[in-house]
Symmetry: C2
Subunit: 316 residues, 2 copies
């Protein structure tokens, strides 16, 4: 093996829980950081140690844990060591979370922790909610300004990118492009992080800011969840033991940031055979009582690992 540079390596976790009505993410530092800490030399596997740390410190049973992405910051000018962040996504259950004594799962320092609506950081992502419309309106105006200050030969390309990413002019909104949207705003200087100096400030246009590249990591996490709920039953990791179909639908809608067709949603869920009736009913909402279901955890396995989508000839 060749000689290698020494690099500061940190772990960053995006802990997501569905707190009643909206997906929330565990933050530190008055909402400006994600839980993070150094990779310790004596940790077992990255994944195992992260799971243990999270469960020990927050009391949360982490249902689903996966690596997100590894980010390197921009090379520091002043000879400081390079910082690399290995980010993870952790899904936890309603009510299971306990932002307890030690809120930072990596560190015993214990800075004030809080669960925050992830749409506070990305208001334009919540298409099911009217606030997105005004956020987008403001964003598009600023983007136009930015584009027109660029050389005219780039206008076409930039406008196309804007249309594609925000679902304009014939393109339709793609809820999975969270990161692409954030990066466009970043390039355009519309998010505070883009200016190294102040964090905070112009929050109404571009959502709450975070330190370092933590908002980029959060964007990556949201994009990953949105993509994943389409082909893997990860949404159940966010549900409590029993739930109504409507609650399940709302969870999906809040995560995806858009409405789904009720009847078709039920059909799809029923068709998958991943849940079963508990026999009980919920009459918390106004109308006709809804049946309660539970997730059939035993059936899961790696089953339903995406459909083939290739015209593969069956063996049988």
């Amino acid at each position: 093996m060749r000689n290698m540079s020494l690099v500061q390596t940190e772990l960053v976790a995006v802990l997501v829980a569905f707190n009643g009505d909206t997906p929330r993410v565990l933050t530190l530092d008055d909402g400006r950081s994600l839980p993070n800490g150094p990779l310790k030399t004596d940790d077992r596997s990255l994944q195992a140690s992260l799971r243990a740390a999270v469960e020990r410190q927050t009391g949360v049973a982490v249902g689903h844990l996966e690596q997100l992405y590894t980010f390197a910051d921009h090379p520091p000018a002043d000879g400081e060591p390079r910082r690399v962040a290995i980010s993870y996504l952790a899904l936890t259950r309603v009510g299971a979370e306990r932002p307890a004594e030690h809120a930072n799962p990596f560190d015993d320092a214990g800075s004030p922790a809080a669960w925050r609506d992830w749409y506070d950081y990305f208001p334009w992502e919540d298409q099911a909610c009217p606030r997105a419309a005004s956020a987008i309106m403001a964003i598009l105006q600023r983007l136009d300004g930015w584009i027109t200050r660029k050389p005219p030969e780039r206008w076409e390309e930039l406008r196309q990118r804007r249309d594609q990413v925000f679902g304009l002019n014939g393109e339709s909104w793609n809820d999975e492009l969270v990161l692409q949207r954030y990066e466009l705003l970043y390039e355009a200087g519309l998010v505070p992080e883009a200016h190294a100096t102040d964090v905070g400030g112009d929050a109404c246009v571009a959502g709450l800011a975070m330190r370092h590249d933590h908002r980029r990591i959060l964007a990556t996490a949201i994009a990953r969840i949105r993509a994943k709920i389409r082909y893997r039953p990860v949404i159940y990791e966010l549900m409590s033991d029993q739930f109504t179909l409507f609650a399940l639908q709302q969870a999906v809608e809040r995560v995806a940031g858009r409405h789904v067709h009720k009847q078709n949603f039920r059909r799809q869920v029923a068709h998958q055979g991943l849940i079963e009736e508990t026999g009980e009913e919920s009459r918390e909402a106004g109308g006709r009582p809804a049946r309660l279901y539970r997730f059939r955890r035993s059936v899961v396995m790696e089953r339903a690992v995406a459909g083939s989508k290739l015209p593969i000839v069956r063996a049988r």
Copy 2:
């Protein structure tokens, strides 16, 4: 920011090119390592620097480059620094590769490099080829031995896992489970890497071995490509400028390790509208001459970023 450990961080690249008839991967060290090198402090972004390094050293135009996964090795007992590998997948074109003077894209040392059939490392993955059948036969026998040496209360679980991963007893073969299969073999001690001592040796049962966790990284890469060709047009990154539909089909078949239905494949490809006729014909093969096509690179964009698969209500 808190204090952080110093960790040896290396980059590992899986360069894939379609060399005539089979997918090949660039290897060093007589096929036992993947190209790798340290993360340098002055590199720009991880991705950009990797792309530049690969293109400079191999002369390859890397069409598609994406991060794969970040692996941490097992914690070293003797107080050595922890090693972390950030792995990337790079797709290059037929004929574009030049395993040249400096074969290692990260290092000017220049150790002997070679493109090798990736199925040399995973013979059981090539379901379209008879050698897989014998490989699997041998593997299953060994696996059975391993399972029966475990406590009987685990037999059920382990057999289920074996069936699921190798497509036995009602389960069907899932070509995307490359990593899961490798890890099962690893746990069972059927791959040489599992015994720290000798690398090489019993290659006929479990394929060629690699140093460190490089074969695990290669497994991750193959799994990623197999998954990705289903919903993104990455297969074209491996094709030359002009190709016949049959060549395209063969590329998909060799990558996925299984046969596809010819007519349905053509229908699907035509339906996507991502390629266009060049007007020319190829009469290299025996029979009726085949039309030549080219990839419409302009149409790509982020389009076709997966189908919704959620019953989302359309805006329109």
